[in-house]
């Protein structure tokens, strides 16, 4: 059987578990400086599964808070809005797309995803871009891989085999098998989910930002740098890890100098470690 076309893949997206309502709500509050904690807690409490996962992460050793956290509102108080929002988004994604087979272990993908999200946040802090948007785009940047695997597990297993055998990039293996790659699939899914356009563009651009430099958003360049940096820091330590090509233009556009930014590498590793433990991945 042929792998699904991009159109067929999107038809399959209807069958995917959608993002929980609260994630959409949190995304809409990302740019709202004065987001009200009571309103956010109220929305979160509407989904008991989310509350349960939030409290499990908030009480994990990674946060080391002496006081036991028993409610969403307390979590906001002790951990701060940003960290609560990040925990909820990450746990929601991991839970909705918990795929583990002999060929595809979503946990490895989530480790990479958290690594990219952490790099994106720190890069954003460095260049004065909104760290929350950067973190969210990092969380979602490889969502196309999950969609392709869910729709056609055997074909995607073949992609992973090819990449291993030829030591090629995931993109070229995907194109060989499917005729398109996960950046195209992921950005279409993000459009379907009505995510902010910067995030759609960043998902599309994260491997080849030079082709997507028309709209003026820095997020595509930023997620590209975060993707390359997370491989360079060997986050997730996959044996076949290889640092992808790095756009000269994107580095220049964001004004990132690696010798200077190296001063934050240790912090990135520690922050990633904290998130990984908190989420149990």
């Amino acid at each position: 059987m042929m792998p699904p076309s991009l159109g067929q893949l999107m038809a399959h997206a209807d069958a995917l578990p959608s993002l929980p309502e609260i994630v959409h709500h949190l995304m809409s509050t990302l740019k709202d400086e004065g987001a009200d904690v009571d309103t956010l807690a109220h929305h979160i409490n509407a989904d008991p599964a989310i509350v349960a996962r939030l409290l499990a992460a908030a009480n994990s050793s990674a946060f080391g808070v002496n006081t036991r956290i028993d409610s969403a509102r307390q979590a906001f108080y002790y951990l701060g809005v940003n960290r609560v929002v990040n925990i909820i988004m990450a746990t929601a994604l991991i839970q909705r797309f918990d795929t583990r087979t002999a060929d595809f272990d979503a946990r490895l993908l989530w480790r990479h995803t958290m690594g990219v999200a952490t790099c994106a946040r720190v890069l954003a802090e460095e260049i004065d871009y909104d760290p929350e948007i950067a973190f969210t785009a990092g969380l979602l940047h490889d969502i196309g891989q999950v969609l392709m695997f869910t729709a056609a597990p055997n074909d995607y297993a073949h992609v992973l085999e090819l990449r291993q055998k030829d030591d090629s990039s995931i993109l070229s293996a995907e194109i060989e098998v499917f005729g398109y790659d996960h950046t195209a699939a992921g950005s279409l899914l993000a459009r379907e989910w009505k995510l902010p356009w910067e995030i759609i563009e960043a998902i599309a651009a994260h491997h080849d930002p030079d082709s997507y430099n028309n709209t003026g958003s820095q997020l595509g360049d930023l997620i590209h740098l975060a993707e390359v940096l997370s491989h360079a820091l060997d986050i997730g330590e996959q044996p076949n890890n290889r640092v992808p090509d790095l756009s000269e233009r994107a580095c220049a556009n964001l004004g990132v100098s690696w010798p200077t930014f190296a001063g934050r590498f240790a912090e990135i590793e520690a922050r990633y470690d904290g998130i990984r433990i908190a989420l149990g991945i």
């Binding site: 990674a62 951990l79 470690d273």
Partner: protein
């Protein structure tokens, strides 16, 4: 006994460790000064202020041979993951990573 400086997530820091750099909140305000020996209430406070990474001193019990071996392994790994394509920006990143690995391994 020698000590070295490492950066840890707050959940990994044990009471009794000394800060190797001031602990700051996200706005860059100093919460605790360099040299402070951390106790549980200080760690709790850093957590509540959203501090995600802390530089502390750690006793270094490794001998010279172990350090040389770790250094060699770290350098080989950097060379392995940077195999293939190249370019000035990627080369600059590789040098930065190599410098960082050498510094944190020593």
């Amino acid at each position: 006994m020698k000590s070295r400086i490492i950066c840890l997530a707050p959940g990994r820091v044990a009471p009794g460790m000394a800060l190797a750099a001031a602990a700051m909140d996200r706005e860059g305000r100093i919460l605790l000064a360099t040299g402070t020996v951390l106790d549980t209430s200080m760690l709790d406070r850093l957590n509540r202020r959203g501090v995600e990474a802390i530089f502390v001193h750690l006793l270094d019990t490794r001998n010279a041979e172990t350090i040389a071996h770790e250094l060699q392994r770290a350098e080989a790994r950097v060379a392995h993951i940077f195999r293939g394509a190249d370019g000035p920006a990627r080369q600059s990143l590789q040098n930065a990573i190599l410098g960082y690995r050498r510094e944190t391994t020593r």
